[in-house]
Symmetry: C2
Subunit: 387 residues, 2 copies
């Protein structure tokens, strides 16, 4: 035990869990790693061990048997507070399952970096996955606290605080609009299971927030405190990170207060197979393509278009997963099988969501110094071998 | 009276109301006309007499004193039906006011036609306006009918039928998702007032549906019947119109069943002043620009960007109207005052909404044969005179 403590003192990351070797590591300490997209596209539900991991700090290690863990829930208002351990939470509220995709704000940043370097992890297209989350509805907990559906509080926020702490001991904390938390169709849950099993440490054991349709930064892991407040979180991660700016902004002249914190995400799409730069053998003269598409806010993907001639003509891809127009939190995988005669081709993909929003053509006009929301058309070059 | 009847027999449009001469007429019978954008941008609330008019048929003429008018409300379900005249409706339910912009699906179609001709009215950028609507909440009426907030019925629809009829006597009818109708934050109302006055005939007297954040085609005028149904409306306007397709689709090979009916609209923005092709006198070497921006689904406009160099650099415009991130049904006017030295310039504008969705760069990749949702960057050319 003393030896363990010494290891921890010299390296705060020494107690991090083991990870699957298939993950592509972006940084080791803190651990950040993504799923190779050729693997990602194989399953509607991403297996937990292949699911991307995005940490800011060392991974907390919660021992439920010690009795130390509790979730505190308070309100700026005159409401009573709640304090619950995990068993009490599970007993007090009905369980609810949600199939929802989780995506990092910085997914696809490496594509944006080709326009001009940005500051952030060099994600390819695998900082996204889809899982079944089980927990209790945050709405039920907040109703219990005394929060009401009301036009008075609709622009209030709910702040989540994790057990992960920065070197100054400040915990990771962010907030979402109270209207999202209270929306009966918003499906925000406090999850203790992922894909039918107890949450792993890397995904927030014992409890994480699941905010379907909203960027990953708000899905606080190792959740220990919830505060209903008149204002949004004043944390670094809410105020001075996870925001996008005009492409002519840069670090020397940016005012973070001018942009809203990213919540719902814009529509995106990716070619997962083949990969950029690959040589592909055609079958019956056709190129087979597979990928995913997704939009924030529960807006379903209504169409995925592919162009092999830089946007002159477009082919409609086949959608492989069922799609609802609203409350559609999961991604939609797609495939296409297109005749090609050239020896090389550039493949463009773009999706359209239920509000008929679509993606920008490139990364240039949405470039931002933080490299977030890199949702331009995904463009890959492949070499082709006739069959 | 006999003479009137004869006039009507020879011309079903003879009884249409008088309109303000400032409107730019696109078709006279049925009457379709838009607001010049230089006038439009002057007011946050568009004066009723300047508000664009979009009709499919002759304008119904309802005489409330005759006692003939009623609103019928029924459900596919086992629920009781309701039948109410206007006084009964006003007495039975609390009044609710909403400030919401109304936009035709075909607004800006003329810009899309430059890529390739489409089929529809040749709208410039004035088939949009913003008004204060007063009426009763549709949610309250449906609760009274016995409809419940439930996951069971969330993909049901609510169909609206108007008194306007096509030459075969089929009424104009369309539907919206029941989830939108029942959403306490959806603000769908049955409106009897526009801008503080009784609804005019051209805007749906005595009653029209207001569906904030949703395309104008669903805001049924001269409302006479509401049906809560398991499926969406089977009408022509729901099924075979007001949909967008892949740009490589055309009339000879389109399958309307493959695309969803337009409901929430994508983000858009327009330069209203100066106009395309205008010669502008600079002030202190600066070009003053004014316009509007808006997004569907209640997503507020968080930024409007202007480029004078084809997207190489972008300037942030000043937003002139207050913006909430959600439940923001009204448009946002903007202005910018930018230094220019050239004798000619092309101005590009694009907006970003609360989900960080933005506009496509041009109309080419969103071109569709019906010419709807023409939301590419607005690009105008102006000649400049130094001061
Ligand atoms: Mo993230
Ligand atoms: Mo319309």
């Amino acid at each position: 035990e003393e030896a363990d403590a010494m290891i921890n003192m010299s390296d705060p990351y020494a107690n991090d869990p083991q990870r699957h070797p298939v993950l592509t590591i972006r940084t080791k300490k803190p651990f950040n790693a993504e799923t190779p997209t050729s693997l990602l596209v194989e399953n509607f539900i991403t297996p937990t061990e292949f699911f991307y991991v995005r940490h800011h700090f060392p991974v907390p290690d919660v021992d439920l048997s010690s009795g130390d863990y509790s979730l505190e829930i308070i309100s700026d208002d005159e409401k009573k507070g709640l304090s619950l351990n995990l068993d009490q939470l599970k007993t007090a509220y009905a369980s609810h399952s949600v199939t929802a995709s989780l995506q990092c704000s910085g997914n696809r940043r490496s594509e944006m970096n080709r326009t001009k370097p940005t500051k952030g992890l060099e994600w390819a297209q695998g900082a996204m996955g889809n899982a079944v989350w089980k927990g209790v509805r945050l709405r039920d907990v907040l109703l219990d606290l005394g929060i009401k559906d009301s036009d008075e509080n609709e622009h209030w926020h709910v702040e989540f605080e994790g057990l992960d702490i920065d070197p100054t001991s400040a915990p990771y904390a962010v907030s979402i609009p109270l209207s999202k938390a209270m929306d009966p169709r918003g499906d925000v849950i406090l999850a203790y299971e992922m894909n039918g099993e107890t949450l792993t440490r890397d995904h927030g054991f014992p409890l994480r927030v699941v905010v379907p349709g909203t960027t990953g930064a708000r899905w606080v892991k190792w959740l220990t405190r919830i505060e209903v407040a008149r204002n949004e979180s004043q944390s670094h991660w809410q105020q001075n990170d996870y925001k996008s700016f005009n492409p002519s902004s840069d670090w020397d002249k940016v005012d973070f207060s001018t942009a809203p914190a990213i919540q719902e995400m814009p529509v995106t799409s990716v070619v997962c197979d083949p990969q950029d730069g690959e040589t592909v053998e055609l079958k019956d003269g056709k190129l087979k393509l597979k990928g995913y598409a997704w939009s924030g806010g529960g807006r379903g993907v209504v169409r995925v278009d592919i162009s092999l001639d830089s946007g002159k003509t477009w082919h409609v891809a086949e959608l492989l997963d069922p799609v609802k127009l609203s409350r559609q939190w999961a991604w939609t995988r797609w495939q296409a099988n297109l005749p090609v005669t050239a020896k090389e081709t550039e493949v463009w993909v773009r999706a359209v969501d239920a509000s008929y929003n679509t993606q920008p053509e490139g990364m240039e006009h949405i470039w931002n110094m933080r490299g977030v929301l890199a949702v331009g058309y995904h463009k890959i070059k492949v070499s082709l071998k006739a069959d």
